[in-house]
Symmetry: C2
Amino acid sequence: MQSEKITSLRRTEEKRRYDDACGTAHGLELIGERWALLVLRELMLGPRRFSQLRADLPGISANVLSQRLTELEARGLVVRRKLPPPANVQVYEATEWGLEAEPIVQTLGRWAARSPSHDPTLPISGVSILLSVRTMFDRAKINGMEATINFRFGPDAYVAQIHDGEIDILRGEAEEAALTIASDPPANLAAVMYGKAPYELIEWSGDKVLLDRFVDLFELPPKAAVPAA
Amino acid sequence: MQSEKITSLRRTEEKRRYDDACGTAHGLELIGERWALLVLRELMLGPRRFSQLRADLPGISANVLSQRLTELEARGLVVRRKLPPPANVQVYEATEWGLEAEPIVQTLGRWAARSPSHDPTLPISGVSILLSVRTMFDRAKINGMEATINFRFGPDAYVAQIHDGEIDILRGEAEEAALTIASDPPANLAAVMYGKAPYELIEWSGDKVLLDRFVDLFELPPKAAVPAA
DNA sequence: CCGTATCCAATAAGATACTG
DNA sequence: CAGTATCTTATTGGATACGG
């Protein structure tokens, strides 16, 4: 049955190719199907389980997620890994090359943020927000800023290290963080960062001045002017 | 009928949304359908006609191209413009915001060039090659290089201006070009640039030293290491 | 020649139920 | 929980025909 699945996958891929030497076309063959880039996005900050992916990709169905993961694995962008006992669960992890797709996610996201039809009030995953932190911070305002900030989205913990004009993000929790932010749902943090909504929407503890400065780093880009329909 | 088409388009778009505030997801709603980004790519160096797009996107069918153009227009990424008499023909042109998608095309293309399954010998459009010129040149080797090079792909003429560490590309022909390169099919030029194939594959006239230096600017990136299947 | 419209067959996506 | 199986619907691509 496995070989049959692979055969049908190969037959499909041959038909749906673009027959174009352009790297962009080949990129679309690799990660251009519906949901594929979003699945990869969710793996950008570390391995995730099937059910976590399903929860963070509202509307994806189990069979499509399963198929996308199989394809991404066949293409060398994702590996499935069995965690050692006692956890003993299977997780999906981006390969090194898969992680190199992050600039695609960022470039596409930054461009689309200018869309007049972008609705920033929709639900969003914790991973997406933290990737947007890396993408959208104002480089002019960050100068000299050095800080460690903990984030919690339900059970998921991340640390942002603001250092030397860049922001690194890791899984986990830092003891020495000057600030801890928790948001449930994660969209509330987006409302605070990009909509300048009141802090009541999130939970936070620690350095309030740092929180102010952090929130001030983010601003949505101006909307693109589009011709009248 | 037009209103019916728009209604069905809207109904479709509602179902196929990602319901995700992440900019990347919204970007995929805008240019994530099959062929959409490639259509936009073909417009990156200036307006094109329907039949030119069809010819440069091997395998796209007329109805799909038509639908993609309608959608891109509805989203404000493309406008259709009627050239003044005596030409009197309709062309499709990227809007300013549409042109701002070029970094997406570039980032995706550069990433995918590392794919072990990328086949650079397939057919390719002139626009794709010249976009790759902008994307893939070696910044370390270009230092101090100043030149104007004409390109011809069948009836289409372009000029590359290498200046100040960057490469600009425009439609048209420059009188004062030091070098003129013609390639038919365009894939032959790709073979020369990236495969270091012999110059016999192309036609050229002018400064041979410049041609050597130009070709030397390009190199495919190393293939990504992927886990064994 | 430039598209658009229509019809058809193949496939992908979505919804739901089900199994180890 | 982690998927698979099955069924329905939507999209795609190919062919062809039609109007400007």
